[in-house]
Structure formats: C-alpha cells, structure tokens
Amino acid sequence: MLGITSYGAYIPLHRLSRAELGRAWGGGASPGEKAVANYDEDTITMAVAAGIDCLANLDRQQVDRLFLSTTTSPYKEKQAAAVVAAALDLRRDIMSSDLTNSLRSGSIALKLALDSVKAGSARQVLITAADCRLGYPQSEFEQNFGDGAASIMIGDSNPIATVEASHSHTNEFVDLWRIEEDTYVRSWEDRFIYSEGYQSNVQEAVTALLKQQKLTPKDFTKAVIYAPDGRRHAEMVRALGFDPKSQVQDPLFNSVGCTGAALGLMMLVAALETSKPGDRILFVNYGDGADALILKVTEEIEKARQRRGIKGHLASKRPMPNYEKYLRTRQMLAMEAARRPADLASAVMLWRDRKMLFGLYGVKCKACGRVQFPPQRVCVACKTKDKFEDIRLSDKKGSVFTFCRDNLAPTADPPLVKAIVDFEVGGRISCHMTDRDPEAVKIGMPVEMTFRRIHDAAGIHNYFWKARPIR
C-alpha cells in the first residue's frame, strides 16, 4: 500500500526572541521566538539533518529518489539535492531533483513522490524541504521568518499514513518574490496579496476537495494549513470552519517562524507525531496556487515514533543573545576579513575525496580491526597495506578526547572550538564543534556529527562534518 512511510524534521538550535527584534528597532514585536540557522547552516545542511532524522533505523540504500524543496538553494546553477544525496550516503543510481522557487514546493514534492511510487518507477522516495529566507531588516518578515526543515518518505508498503484524495491548482500571481539579485523577500501590498492570493486560493482548493470527497470539516481529526503568519492562519481556520481548539495543527509561528517551503511539511510532521491510527488529516499548502490532500493515519504510525521530529527539536534550543549576533550569524553585516591565510578549495579534491567529505567515510583495517579517519592506504596500527573496508562515521556517536577554544581562527561564532573526537566504534577525527556553548565543552562530552558549510573558498560552497553536543 502506497503512502507516507517515515518522517523527520530539523530545527536549528538557536532561537531569537521577537522581543529582541522589538528592542533592536523600537516599536512592537510579535510574540514568541524564531529559529535561526547557525552561521554554518543553510538549506542543504538543514535538509541533510531532516533527512537523517527521517532515515533513522531505515536502510539508506533503499531510497530510489530524492527531492529537495526550497526557495533558498545555495546554488543558482548546480543541484543542491545532489549534495544532500551525497551527505545522506544514498545510492548512486537514484534520480534526484531540486524543486525550487515556490513556497508550495514541499507539497509538490509530496505529490510527485506519490505519483512516482504509484507509477512503479520508484519504491521509496525521500523528500526533504528546507528554507532559510531573509526578511528586510526591521520588516514584518524579519520578525516572521524562521529557518527549518522537514523530511517525508513516500513508500510502496507499510505506510504510516495513506493519501485518500488530493486537489492541486496553479495560479499565476505576484505576492512574494525575489528576482535574481535579491537577498530579501519582496512583497506587494498585503491587503491585496492575502485576500486575492492566500485566502482565495486556499479556500478554492479546500472547497473543491471537500466537495469532491463529500466531506465536511467535522470529518477531520486535524487540519494542517499553511499560512504566511499567525493572524492569517487564525483567520483561515475560522473561514474554513475548523475548531481552533481541537482540530488545528499549531503553525509553529511562536516557536519557529514561517519556514517558507518547509513550513507545510514541518506542520505535517508535527501533526503525524501526535496522531493516532484512524486519524484523518487535511493538509493544505499554498504558493503559486495550492495543494490540498486528505491523509489517513494507519496502525503503522506507532513504528515511526523514534524521531527527533518537531517535538524533539523544539525542546532542544539555545537563545541567541542579541540582534547583532543574528545579523552576524546570517551574514547580513560586512565584517572585516581575518588576517589569516585565505581558505582554499579544489573541485578536484571535492570529487576525489567525496566519500570522505560527504559521507564521512573512514576505513576499518581487515587485519587488525582498527578504525581510522581519514581513509588510509597503510594501517596506522598494524601497517598492513590496502586491506580495508569502508565504515560510515557520520551516524556514529563519539566523545571529546581533547579540545581548545581558538580565538585566532576566523569564524562567525568565535571562539572556534576545535576538538579531537573518538568514535564509539573506534576511530578518531580532528574537527570543529558547532552549536556548542564554548564554556560547557568538556573532555568526555558525548557528541554527534552534523553536516555543515565550512567556507565558500573558490566560490564553491564547501561542506564537511562537525561535532556537536548530542541534541
């Protein structure tokens, strides 16, 4: 049976309180806080993190297709999903694609994945959706936008939720946009864009689907409805006739913010986390038209609980101290370059070392069993030549053997905590630590690996793994 077979999510550790934005600019602020990607995070790294969560305990070799839905691909030309596939260590003979530019691209990926599996051209399709949008300083969008990611697996057997019906329509409409050179999201006058854009399109999709299925709002356990902000979400719930207290999935505005192309799927993941077998869910997504789907939760849902998901990531957080730190973290300030040698990168080395860089593969000596990273030709322990098997370390836990706090190394989040990490399975890596409180790092601290952007040398986004305290 076809349907959703797994889910996962990712929310960056750091949260900026909206009161702090109010302090920075004067005037009022929306309630709650927003999730902010760290300086070394972007759409690709967040998609990888959500994908890892979704793939927990699943065989990564079984994934046949990968979609990445976003409006903030780090690349204008070059597929971001290929980077995600490499970091997730997926098979080579998969098809991958970025689904970009539309806020609706998460649900578009969902429908394309369902069609792929239904058509028999794939058995398992992994969807990742991530966004990292910027609002102009002092704008409502700056308060409203947050960063995050979700991941959904569509498979041909043992679904945790099936899709009973769906409706889609495309609508050419200019409400939110960025042209090629834009960093910040533009919008037209809000009274126009919400009434003729968001409101009318969502209502059109929901009305059509419910009419076709002969259902009413009362027939649903939960309504998962994308909205640009809290106020429009509340208005839409009322307009569609759902009970705000019992029937509606929290749109995450107070805790995460509007995560763009990722928001719809993040809300869907949050709904699945608390759903029970037999629940019927209405899922509506908006952007350049609308998608509406009806999902039915199955008995299999109980097998998919071992995820950090939305709930786990919401509980694991650290306040961002101030707006200035936010500006630096999101690279909105021009900072003086460090007086240090320039970073280097080589497309040749990225290719040659792809298994080490993206999959964090080390090797294990077949003669003496010693795990070693980076991969060697001659064993560090028994000196046997070329008798190794590969071992993936990106999903292995470790502990800090020693560390330091480097104030000389250039980083947007000084001091740079450098660590020697010993893995539980054996092997050692020398790496950076991220999402850490520098003063709290200790010898023996348990850590896990996280895929991060290292630098942009040679005009290439260069990624590698860092250690972080276990979230």
Partner: protein
Amino acid sequence: MGSIKDKCAIIGMGCTKFGERWDTSINDLIVEAAYEAFEDAGIAPSDVQAGWVGYTSSSRTGETLSRPLKLDYIPVTHVENACGSGMETIRGAAYAVAAGVYDIALALGVEKLKDSGLAGLPTPGGLGFWHPVADSAITAPALYALAATRYFYTYGIEPQKGKEILAKIAVKNHYNGSMSPKAHFQRAVTLEQVMNAPLVAWPLGLFDCCPTTDGAAAAIICRADLAKKFRSDYVLIKGIGLAIGPGTGSMDTDYDFTHWEETERAARQAYAEAGIKNPRKEVSLASVHDCFTISELIIYEGLGLCRKGEARHEVDAGTFNLNGEMPINSDGGLKSFGHPVGASGVRKVYELYKQIQGKAQLPQRQLKNAKLGMAHSQGGHPGAFHCILTVVGARD
C-alpha cells in the same frame, strides 16, 4: 650505523637581530647572518664549497642563498622540515662534510614573516595531513592547546593551575630574553601579566605563544681535523637525531596528546651518537622548541630530563632557570628571542656555540662551565611532529 660524533666542527656563526625587521628584506637578513658567520670563522665567502638553506615561506630553491651572497655556482640545497628547517641545514651540511665531499659548508636558516600582514604563520593549514575543507581554519596555537587541555586533564591539574605552570615558563624565557641583545622581545614580564593576557587559544594566552619574527642565522661547518686552522675554540657536533612521525596522532586513538613521541625518538638517536646516558647530569644547557609554553613543558619530559607528569615540579623548583641546574632557553627561546621559522634551529645552535665559547655577549647571562649543549626543534604539531635534536660540545 655510524655516527656524526666529532667529525664536524662549527667554526663560525652569525645571527641577525630578530624582530619586526620592517626595513630589511629576506636578502638583507641572509647577508647579515652569513657575513657575521664568515667574519667569525675568518673565511671569505669564496671559501664556502656548498650551501644549505632552510625556510618555509619564500621561493623554493637554493637560489635563495646564492643570489644575495653571489655564491660562485656552488651546490646549494634547499631543505624544509617546517620548524626543523634551520637545524636541517646544519644536519645536511654536517653529513656532507663528514662524508669528506666538502671541507667547508654554509648552513643558513632564514624567514621573513612580517611582510605577510597576517596574524600567525602565513602558511594555510597545518602540516602533514591537511585538507582545505576537512581541516579548515587551522592555527598553530589551537593545535598545541589541544595538548595542554589533555595534559591538565590527564594529570589532574585544574586549568587555572595549569595556566600558572605554563606562565612560569613564559616568565623564565622573557627574563632570559631581556638580556639577549638580538632577541625580538627584551622585556621581562610578571606572572600576573602572563596570567591576565588575552586568550589566543584557550588554555593558551598571548604570552604562552611565541611571536612571528623576521630573522636569519648561519653556521660554517668544517671538517673537524681542519677546524684548528681557523680557531681554537671551535665547537664540535656530538650527535644529531631526526625523527619524522607518521602524523597519525589525530587519527589514532592510541595517541594521548600528552607526550612528544618524535622528541623522544630524536633524543634517543642523538644521545646514542653523543654517548649521553643521563642528559640531566651531562648536558650543560639546552635550547628547545618553546613555540608554545606547553611545548616546552612536555619537552622536559620528552628529552628525559624528568619523569612524565612531573615537569611541573621542575618548573616550580626552577630547575631550568638561567641560574638553575640546567638552563633551558638561556637566550629567551622562541618565546622571547622570536621565531622566524627557518632560522630558529640555527639560532638555537648559535646560543649553545656562544655559551660554550664564553662569548654570551653580556656577563650576567654567561653560563659557567658550559661544555655540552643540545638544540631541539620540532615542526608540525602534537600528533604529527618532525623533531630534530643536535648536540654540540666544546673540543676536548
């Protein structure tokens, strides 16, 4: 295996003023050091039959030496072993002279670091295994700080107490440097100043780190049996040890980050050549690689001057002070004399040479009865060192 012992003599040495030499080029530094050495040896540049030159950040050929000195088409070899590059020139020249190929060779180390405008070394990344993405943002103080953190942990030393042990080494070396006319820094510092200095890479602060420096130093290496033609107080090479580690410390869980394996190996080789059984008793003084104070602390143990984990007690006891049992870094060390990478190894031998000759410039820093000295350089970083140890002694 043979030994270098007593086969070569140092008959002349030169050393530039170390420091921020804004107005001198690398060529000026080379001329300054080489001509002091020529004059000291009483030879003409044309007496030199072969040259070795060590540096890490300039052009990469022997021409670096022949161009400023206008050497006459003689063989010149560029050697590079990171911070061991300078002492490598002495090793190369000594082996060639010992082989009987040349009678007189010039060994010169030089580095011009202050033109780069950068903080720290201008070379990107570390040494040994280095990947521009997997090993980004590498700094030397961080690599040594990893060892300090672990050393404190292993021996149950509270970090603040550990910093105080290290600070005493900085205070000692600054005091020694305050009497060295050619040192980069010639100012004594207090324990309080060192402890309160800004952090560079915790637990290491500003005074735990050597500076980046411009400078050059040179040695004239001569067949031992010819040395007396040039001077009576020549200094003999007694032993040279060189150990290049496999660089596996950051990938091998067996490495403890609290000992310098390469230093121990190089010391074993050099002591065997020199016939040293108990270095603490037999060696008069040492110039060691105190690029960071933690480096010097662990070197005490690595050279066999005290047991592992006990170096801190020797620091408290002042064993290695100028007036202590075995003065270490009597000229201020890298910490105070400065660290022009390629030059430092030769500078360390320069100090031993002058002390053994009784020509340590100022009487208050002249050691009594200095007969045997050892100079130690280690390039790379904890877990991936290239260590060289040279023992020199007075003629019998």
